[in-house]
């Protein structure tokens, strides 16, 4: 009998015993205070306040040109010679690549080759890039969350490896809550091998409960918000 058959057989046998799911009825202590409903704000304002409370930055842009300027500005501030980015059509900012090129900033779309030492060397060089640029599949206002999905031309590492992550979000992809997002995009998880909900910069409080940002993932998250 394979391990699979053994385990499944044991599960089936066990479940036939009296207790089924094993729970008694839950002994309820009624909550002592009635939870308050958070104030209703327009989605973009809610998103902005949630993300900024976590240490992220939201750059409101009225046009593609302003958005491109925000991105190039961040790169210039960090003197980044190159970005690790999604294909421009997935970032959703036509002309971005060209604008970066004009400022002598390279645009690496993160393809990982197979075989060693090519793969390892490539990873080392990707690891030196200071700014990652991505689009956003959808976002959540009540927690300041952006959802990114991997796919062709959409490397996972762009929102992960560099210390700075810039994400371009259009307001029509902004939803009030996670359930609302999933209801609107039921197939989101199917679009790629990796769906990540990113809620602010990387952080830890492991050392004496002291909050530190920028542990393994990006310490800076910038969302460029377009109408």
């Amino acid at each position: 009998m394979s391990a699979r058959d053994q385990i499944l057989a044991r599960v089936a046998t066990s479940l036939r015993r009296g207790w089924g799911a094993g729970g008694g009825h839950a002994h309820r202590t009624p909550p002592r205070a009635t939870p308050e409903k958070p104030a209703a704000l327009p989605l973009r304002d809610r998103f902005t306040s949630e993300l900024e409370a976590l240490g992220g930055r939201v750059h409101a842009a009225r046009s593609d040109a302003e958005a491109i300027q925000a991105v190039t500005g961040i790169c210039a501030e960090r003197r980044a010679p190159c970005v690790l980015a999604w294909y421009e059509e997935h970032v959703g900012l036509p002309g971005l690549r060209h604008a970066l090129f004009d400022r002598k900033i390279g645009y690496d779309t993160g393809w990982l080759p197979d075989g060693e030492p090519a793969r390892s060397e490539r990873l080392q060089s990707l690891g030196r890039i200071a700014v990652g640029v991505t689009g956003v599949a959808a976002a959540i206002a009540d927690s300041g969350t952006i959802a990114v999905v991997s796919g062709p031309g959409r490397p996972r590492l762009a929102s992960l490896l560099p210390p700075v992550h810039v994400a371009v979000l259009r307001e029509d992809r902004l939803y009030a809550s996670l359930p609302a997002l999933l209801a609107a995009h039921p197939g989101l998880a199917e679009q790629g091998s990796n769906l990540v909900l990113i809620t602010g910069p990387s952080r830890t409080a492991d050392i004496e409960m002291t909050l530190t940002r920028g542990v393994h993932g990006p310490g800076e998250v910038h969302v460029v918000l377009l109408p």
Binding site: A3, G22, H27, P35, E190, N194, T199, A205, H216
Partner: protein, 489 residues
């Protein structure tokens, strides 16, 4: 960073919770360190739920989801397997911890793995995986900051969510100084120590051949696994190396992505008071390549192989029993944070990977009562755990069930057993009960001052080690009442 690996779990443990707790209570500053962490986490949890009107209803829904899965686990496992395989992942079934270790080492060998990075995984601690990998010549690095420090220090983690709450900043600096040869300026504060760890571990991430992670939830409807972290080590572990191995406890399945969303919202709020963990990472199989190999049509990165190792290790035995409810647990750690026993002694006192209220049930449930018979008694049954649990698990009920099991096995000390039998015998005989009470009064008055005794004999001395014991009343309430009634006209 390399050095001889120490199998943390083989560090000899004193035999009982009682003794380990006594050690913890007499360790200078330990209770304060633990309280600093737990008090903050509990306060954050409560603040978070106070601003979350749908919270109570969501807890009910989440409990129902877990109950449904646990009650029909085989169906969900079969679906999970099929969907994972459809998307190019491999599923391995491990009946025991030994099987699980063999499987993971086997995968490492097959891929000639030399360096492994690990994301947080309680199951990997449970099956004592690191030692097996090191013995096979594989270098393993923990990447969660707290787990990394614990690994360097040669200690097991002491809390599900905060592995080093038992260490102060200075303790961590000492570890970095000793094991990483860190310069003074690099350990001068938490931010710098974190930066040092980030640099050191980034190098490890970039050279790792295999990433091993735990799994917060497997999703049956699309064979995906979800791993949440605040640091991002979970993402790096599962996206950088060519091979990803995920350990998944048999019961950690939810049916759909929508169900997952409910669990994630409750998990973050219960664990740390956050609305969502920084990275909720859902992985469905390996890097997707177009058959043509075209770059434009293939994912640019991600692991080439994904292996999920389903670990039973005693879980299937719990199904259908009065202990099955402990399998609902989503490992948020809230019960640890709110438990006054845990707050005073910390996680190491439980002598097992799973500590706190959940551990007091889960460890004897999975491992049997041998060696863990006192864990179910390490509780005053206050119920704070049940009150805070996001899926409303009735831990006190199961602690009582385990105590009953232990009593039948004669784990109870003789004086308790005989004393209670005698007490129960007397309680059915009210006149004799009253006689025994009068005898007890005489006994308590001996050596009493001011209505109190400063010491009690024999096994009862535990009481008077910490407080005085009152003398019995000269006349019982029932006797006083009878006299009162007789005096009535």
């Amino acid at each position: 960073m390399s050095g001889p690996h120490e199998d943390r779990m083989s560090v000899p443990q004193p035999l009982s919770f009682h003794r380990r707790a006594a050690d913890a209570l007499s360790t200078p500053d330990l209770p304060q360190k633990i309280e600093r962490a737990t008090a903050r986490l509990v306060a954050a949890r409560h603040a978070s739920f106070a601003a979350f009107p749908e919270g109570e209803a969501l807890r009910d829904e989440a409990r129902a989801i877990r109950a449904r899965v646990v009650g029909h686990l085989d169906q969900h496992l079969i679906r999970f397997e099929a969907e994972l395989q459809k998307r190019g992942g491999h599923l391995h079934w491990a009946a025991t911890d030994d099987d699980a270790r063999r499987i993971v080492v086997g995968i490492a060998r097959a891929h000639e793995v030399r360096n492994v990075v690990k994301g947080k995984s309680m199951v990997s601690e449970e099956i004592e995986l690191n030692g097996a990998l090191e013995a096979a010549g594989v270098h393993v690095v923990e990447t969660d900051l707290g787990e990394y420090v614990a690994q360097l220090a040669g200690e097991p983690p002491s809390h599900i969510v905060g592995p080093i709450i038992h260490k102060s900043r200075e303790d961590v600096a000492a570890v970095f100084r000793e094991k990483l040869d860190a310069a003074e300026e690099d350990v001068s504060d938490a931010a710098r120590m974190t930066a040092l760890a980030r640099r050191t571990l980034r190098a490890e991430f970039l050279r790792a051949d295999m990433g091993i992670s735990g799994t917060n939830f497997g999703v049956a409807e699309n064979g995906s696994i979800c791993l949440v972290t605040n640091e991002g080590n979970g993402r790096l572990t599962t996206s950088l190396p060519r091979v990803h191995v995920a350990l998944l406890g048999l019961e950690r399945i939810v049916p759909t992505v929508a169900d997952l969303a409910i669990m994630l919202r409750l998990l973050a709020r219960s664990a740390t008071g956050q609305k969502l963990t920084v990275y909720s990472n859902l992985l469905s199989g390996p890097r997707r390549r177009h058959p043509s190999g075209s770059e434009a049509a293939s994912e640019p990165d991600g692991p080439d192989e994904v292996h999920v190792v389903l670990v039973d290790n005693g879980r299937s035995e719990l199904l259908g029993t009065e202990l099955a409810e402990i399998l609902y647990c989503i490992r948020c750690g809230a019960c640890l944070n709110t438990c006054p026993v845990f707050q005073n002694v910390g996680g190491h006192a439980y002598g097992s990977v799973y500590s706190g209220p959940v551990g007091a049930v889960l460890t004897p449930a999975l491992r049997g009562l041998d060696g863990f018979a006192d864990l179910p008694h390490a509780s005053s049954l206050c119920g704070a755990c049940r009150e805070i649990c996001p899926v409303r698990i009735d831990i006190p009920r199961m602690l009582l069930a385990l105590r009953a099991k232990g009593a039948r096995r004669s784990d109870t000390p003789a004086w308790v057993r005989q004393g209670l039998r005698m007490y129960a015998w007397l309680a059915r005989r009210p006149r004799l009960f009253a006689v025994a009470a009068r005898a007890a009064r005489v006994a308590t008055r001996m050596g009493a001052r001011d209505g109190w005794r400063r010491s009690l004999p024999g096994p009862l001395a535990g009481w008077t080690d910490h407080r005085d014991f009152p003398v019995f009343a000269p006349r019982s309430f029932q006797r006083l009442w009878r006299e009162r009634e007789r005096r009535k006209p």
